[in-house]
């Protein structure tokens, strides 16, 4: 577990420029299968070209360009969050898995289940238990350590 955690910390970066692409890909591969088990394909809404580039290597990933078609939205900046909010306001019943690449985004978005971000030179991975529960997501044991109740 500790090895995996170390591995995650080592390969993850918010800005990604300091991150090994291969490791980031592996991490997100694990994350996606943990958050969406048994899904034949992951329909992802990502508008950051860097992340798109990395995640396109995952065979099960299908990029979508509309929120309603997405199983998973990766927030990488405020503008995307803003667009999401607008969409959510228009479609209150809409629900999908949201994940942030910054702490601030996680804090500002009540629907995000977790985040993978950089703090004091160290990668940080965390999940919010109530939000996971809302989506009926049960994380594998290896991620349990990063589940917290509140921010």
């Amino acid at each position: 577990m500790r090895t995996l955690f170390t591995f995650i910390l080592l390969v993850t970066s918010v800005t990604l420029h300091a991150v090994d692409e291969k490791s980031t890909f592996e991490l997100y591969d694990k994350l996606l299968s943990a958050l969406m088990p048994n899904k034949p394909a992951y329909r992802l809404y990502v508008d950051d070209p860097v992340y798109k580039n990395i995640l396109k290597k995952e065979e099960k990933v299908v990029f979508v360009d509309r929120f309603e078609n997405a199983d998973f939205i990766l927030f990488t900046d405020e503008s995307l969050l803003e667009r999401y909010r607008e969409y959510k306001q228009a479609h209150p019943e809409y629900s999908t898995i949201l994940f942030a690449t910054r702490y601030r985004l996680l804090k500002n978005c009540k629907d995000a289940v977790g985040a993978l971000y950089w703090r004091k030179g160290r990668p940080q991975l965390l999940f919010l238990k109530p939000r996971l529960k809302h989506h009926n997501i049960v994380l594998p044991t290896m991620f349990k350590k990063f589940e917290i109740e509140t921010l």
Partner: protein, 629 residues
């Protein structure tokens, strides 16, 4: 032997190089480590200062509660902490543990990118918990891929005997790189050295591999699959020669086979011959191809009886039928066989003896076998070079044989007999008949005579009551250099010269007695005596007595020996010599008195002195002096 030594040396060099490489690596890591220690100490001092400041600024027993309650104070402290951020310290922040055990940010020196108060922090190491629990500061090295951090000092801040906060001081990676840059030239040199050491090691391994491969090829004769000469030399570098017996085999008239059937068929016969011999050899024996059609069989002693084995082998090789171009072909061999004597250590010498025997076989018409006796190996003559080597190393010893007064039966004089010492056979002295012929007329003779004279005078000095005689060849006395040397020695020891006799040996007819008279006068100048050696044989005859001033006649041993076989006739001859000696005032010494009956006849004849094994064999003077006491 040489190969093993070389391998060992190469392995030692490689080992030393590897050790040196490791040492260089260690030295570099030590330097880096000391830089690290220095920086950590500095960080601890900073942390200590911050701790003192915090404790002054924050009131009450619970630091965390105070900070929770005073956001403006937090801001103030953050600002102050910011002052501590230098190029060395990238991040300084303080954490606390919440009720659930999660770390939460309290204070942060990074004003530019402030972390929300009490936001969560997942440390990437168990050390955080260890420090929190133990209250003892620790340093952790950051894992790969963390951003810009070299080391983290985890410093507990305790109050009321409890760790309340954990200060994290991150040492900047950029600063560490700066420090390392100071070390860079040295590190670069070390890396280059390591690189070249590694190259050298690889080169050495490559050379050794090639050398070993080449040696393997050199060990076996490619045509016959017998061992090579190289193998033989190498083998006897590791094994003692006298633990083996040797047989030299040469195929007779092999040229005719080559001429008749061609070289290809000749080679085939050689291969078959080699195979036949090898199949017949006992365990641990081997066949060496000396070159051409000459082979050497080396057999460990005690595996077979060498004589019968070699005879069987000879018979086998003689009866063996080769089929060449559908024709039966018989070949014959010449063999010389040596039961190598104990103490033999020179392969070259042993081969020389086998060669000499082989030559005898060839001269006798080939197709035969001859055996080498121990005598052939040990009683050989020495070359001038070998004698020169022994004399240069002063491997010369003088032995003494007593000359007995027949009346008193006491030793009145000792004959000094020179022997050389061959280091290969230190137990057996090299006698003059084994080397004298080759050194006569050379500077080595002069050298040897000088050594003998010095030894004789040394003995005379040591034992003031004894008389000695030394041998000289008259022919050599014609040599002015030899004469000058003798005269110099006599002059230098003139007080003892009257206790010294020169036994002159004459192998040629003396044509110029005047010259010899002069030589004798010179020798007698300081009181030395002259004796004619082997009188009664060869040219040592009556004319000497007539022309020369002689003190003693030493009757030739061959005449004395005849006293046993033909006593009456020999006695007549000896009486005539005695009459002659008396007439000229000479004393007579009978040589080769080897048994009592001879001595009794000598004594009965009234000869003055006796010398021979009956009274004592040549021995170091100390042996006689001890018995005289």
């Amino acid at each position: 032997m040489q190969r093993n030594r070389l391998s060992r040396v190469i392995f030692i060099i490689i080992g030393a190089m590897l050790l040196f490489m490791s040492y260089l690596q260690y030295a570099i890591s030590q330097t880096t480590e000391s830089i690290k220690t220095l920086e950590v100490t500095k960080a601890q001092e900073f942390a200590g200062k911050i701790e003192r400041y915090l404790k002054t600024e924050i009131k009450g027993d619970s630091l965390v509660a105070y900070l929770d309650a005073h956001p403006e104070k937090r801001h103030e402290i953050d600002k102050m902490l910011h002052a501590f951020l230098t190029k060395e310290f990238r991040y300084i922040f303080l954490l606390t543990k919440d009720k659930e055990g999660y770390y939460r940010f309290l204070l942060d020196a990074s004003i530019d990118e402030p972390v929300p108060y009490r936001s969560i922090f997942f440390p990437n190491s168990d050390v955080y918990d260890q420090v929190y629990r133990s209250g003892i500061a620790k340093v952790t090295k950051q894992k790969e891929h963390t951003e810009g951090i070299w080391l983290s000092l985890l410093y507990p801040i305790k109050k009321a005997n409890k760790t309340q906060m954990l200060m994290v001081v991150d040492l900047s990676e950029a600063y560490s790189e700066n420090l390392n840059r100071l070390n860079d030239p040295l590190i670069r040199i070390v890396k280059y050295m390591q690189f070249f050491l590694l190259l050298s090691i690889l080169l050495l391994i490559y050379l050794m591999y090639n050398y070993t491969r080449m040696q393997k090829a050199l060990m076996t004769d490619r045509l016959t699959a017998a061992k090579s000469k190289y193998f033989l030399n190498d083998f006897f570098g590791k094994h003692t020669l006298d633990a083996y017996n040797m047989i030299m085999i040469d195929i007779d008239e092999f040229k005719s086979i080559n001429a008749r059937f061609g070289y290809e068929e000749g080679d085939r016969v050689l291969r078959e011959f080699s195979k036949t011999v090898q199949e017949h050899l006992p365990n641990n024996a081997f066949l060496v191809r000396n070159g051409g059609t000459e082979f050497l069989v080396v057999i460990p002693k005690n595996t077979v009886q060498i004589v019968s084995f070699s005879q069987n082998l000879f018979k086998l090789l003689k009866e063996k039928v080769y089929v060449v171009e559908n024709e039966p072909l018989h070949i014959t061999v010449s063999m010389s066989v040596m039961d190598v004597p104990e103490g033999t250590s020179s392969l070259q010498k042993a081969e020389r003896v086998l060669d000499a025997r082989m030559l005898e076989v060839k001269n006798l018409g080939k197709n035969s076998i001859l055996f080498v006796g121990k005598h052939d190996v040990l009683n050989r003559t020495y070359s001038l070079e070998q004698v020169r080597y022994m004399l240069d190393a002063e491997q010369l010893i003088c032995l003494y044989q007593p000359i007995i007064d027949n009346q008193t039966e006491k030793a009145v004089r000792f004959e000094v007999l020179a022997r050389l010492i061959d280091k290969e056979y230190p137990d057996k002295y090299v006698t003059p008949d084994q080397f004298m012929d080759v050194i006569k007329g050379t500077s080595q003779y002069l050298k040897m005579s000088k050594l003998v004279l010095r030894e004789a005078f040394g003995t005379l000095q040591k034992y003031p009551d004894i008389y000695l005689s030394v041998n000289l060849d008259l022919n050599d006395l014609y040599n002015t250099e030899v004469m000058s040397m003798i005269m110099e020695e006599l002059k230098a020891n003139r007080l003892m010269a009257d206790r010294l006799s020169f036994e002159i040996l004459e192998e040629h007819e003396i044509k110029d007695y005047d010259r010899v008279v002069t030589i004798f006068k010179q020798l007698k100048m300081y009181g030395s005596k002259i004796a004619i050696d082997d009188f009664g044989s060869g040219y040592a005859n009556y004319s000497h007595v007539l022309h020369l001033d002689i003190d003693t006649l030493k009757v030739d041993g061959s005449l004395i020996r005849e006293l046993s076989a033909m006593p009456e006739r020999t006695e007549i001859l000896l009486r005539s010599i005695q009459t002659l000696a008396r007439g000229f005032g000479c004393e007579i010494v009978a040589e080769f008195v080897s048994e009592q009956t001879i001595y009794e006849r000598v004594k009965a004849l009234g000869l003055d002195y006796s010398q021979g094994y009956y009274f004592g064999k040549p021995q170091p003077i100390e042996a006689y002096m001890a018995s005289l006491k």
